[in-house]
């Protein structure tokens, strides 16, 4: 009995990589419901009525349709950039422990939890001509006529910022807390002022993390759909790619819908490629201070 048990242990130890089968269910599921549908979608685009590439051609040759790519980039890149740039000083000030940090973090989590549909719905009333925002501006005599902030680019940008900024902030805060405080203290002892400490010590260590933050917030902003339809002008200035793809889908034009969806994915991956290309040139090293 004992010998048998030991024999079993030995066999198992040797066959340990055999446990790889544990990952099979997840891999099979992802192939069946992610990879296969994507390939199926690519297949559909080649079965379009006008020939194999006509679905792509009709999207890319029509200026109105093609313009949606630039509209999407024009909304998502500024949203991600503003979020990251605004998150850095805020996270810098909040990197240490202080009272109420958890509460402030929780409040910032609220828009992430609410999601873009709720934020967009709230923004319609809040930013509208009779909303509080315009009432305050008029009461302070900043403007005479209500500022138009809904059903245009400004409204979508503002609601996207509300949805995306918390993600940027939480990520940057995480990166700041990963930097050893001793590095900053060493710089201070060497006579560096607060601005020099930030620019020469913290920022270089932070930059790789900031590119990741930019990439993740860009991914979130690039997928914009509910805010572009609800707060935006879905037929004109905020007609983003996901709206164009959804329109084709709801017309049951599945080959066009898939072609647009695939172009959308490729554009996003191209931007991410550029971002990570830049990231590869940055300093990547330890963020902990050692005894040198």
């Amino acid at each position: 009995m004992t010998a048998l048990a030991i024999g079993r242990v030995v066999v198992r130890e040797r066959r340990l990589p055999g446990l790889v089968w544990l990952a099979v269910p997840a891999a099979v599921f992802m192939v069946a419901f992610f990879v296969y549908p994507l390939c199926y979608g690519v297949g559909l685009t080649f079965q379009a009525a006008g020939g194999p590439l006509s679905a792509y051609r009709s999207f890319l040759s029509d200026g109105y349709q093609r313009g949606s790519i630039w509209i999407t980039l024009g909304l998502s890149v500024p949203t991600a950039l503003i979020s990251v740039v605004a998150a850095v000083p805020l996270a810098y000030r909040m990197r240490g422990p202080f009272r109420g940090k958890r509460t402030l973090t929780a409040v910032l989590m609220v828009p992430l939890t609410l999601g873009s549909v709720f934020v967009a719905d709230g923004m319609i009333d809040f930013l509208g001509p009779n909303g509080w925002f315009n009432r305050v501006l008029r009461a302070l005599h900043v403007v005479d006529q209500p500022v138009v902030l809904i059903h245009n680019v400004a409204g979508v940008l503002l609601s996207m910022l509300i949805s995306v900024f918390p993600l940027a902030f939480l990520l940057v805060l995480g990166y700041f807390s990963g930097i050893d405080g001793n590095l900053e203290r060493a710089a201070a002892v060497s006579g560096a002022g607060p601005w020099q400490r930030f620019r020469l010590v913290l920022l270089p260590l932070l930059l790789p993390g900031l590119t990741v933050t930019f990439a993740l917030t860009f991914v979130m902003a690039f997928a914009v759909f509910p805010s572009a339809t609800l707060v935006g002008d879905p037929a004109g200035s905020t007609r983003v790619i996901s709206i164009v793809a959804y329109d084709a889908y709801s017309r049951a034009d599945y080959s066009s819908a898939s072609a647009i969806a695939i172009v959308m994915g490729l554009v996003e991956l191209a931007v991410l490629g550029i971002v990570f290309g830049i990231r590869g040139r940055l300093y990547r090293g330890s963020t902990s201070g050692g005894k040198g």
Binding site: L19, V20, Y40, D125, G193, L230
Partner: protein
Amino acid sequence: MTARLRLTGLLTWLGTGGFLLGMLGAVATVLLSSVAQQWIGTWLPGGYTFHWYGDAWSAYQVGSLLAVTFEVALAVVVLSLVVAVPTAYVLARLDFPGKRLLWLLFLLPQVIPTMSYAVPLATFMYRLHLAETLPGVVLVNLVPSLPFAILVLVPFVEQVDPRVEQAARICGAGTVTVFGRVVVPLLVPGLLAAGVLVLVRTVGQFELTFLVAGPNTQTLVVALYNIATQAGNGASPQEVDAMAVVYMLTTLVLLLVALRFVDPTSIVARNRDRRG
């Protein structure tokens, strides 16, 4: 130098203040509007009433919307965790050919815009006659949730000391026993974190559910979107806002539950430690 710092400090707090005012203003507007008799062109509504909630509740079957939302979310959480635990274990512990490909398979759905794979996936679900059914909605929601649960769980598996498992094996435990009695109990914090995050994401998941759900299988957020697009023709703005408040309360309860179990910054920090 101090002047420059004071300026950045001012900008920081102005930015934060603006953000918080915008967010709280939007939430307060929705809350007030949902209890207003009528609210046109004044600072505050003229009179208050709760009847919009009753109207919305019966007009949009909010009860059954909530039931569908929680059925879908619970099914997605349970299925994601059951499949994710063994997979996360393999990714954390074993080296094998094709491991990078497996990582790619789980990372891609987090990176590709949802609409990009939602459109072909929804078309595929219609082909399988699974669209507009509850299993169909659960299946499409698993596509982003399962890899997400795996990504959250891997660092937690890495924290479990392999010697504990070796000890169990030497004592004669098989794979199932090692998982059931050793690995899973040690993974409870990770399971809570992954489960709560998947729950919050599934309740808020819009695009996939929007494309695949039918009239009887839509979740709260999809119904809210559908009603909000009808605002002006059919649905009164107060009714839409009442729905929005119901949705907000649901997600806020989930957020409070989530914060009991998960520290949002810890996940990022943990991933970072692993890489460095």
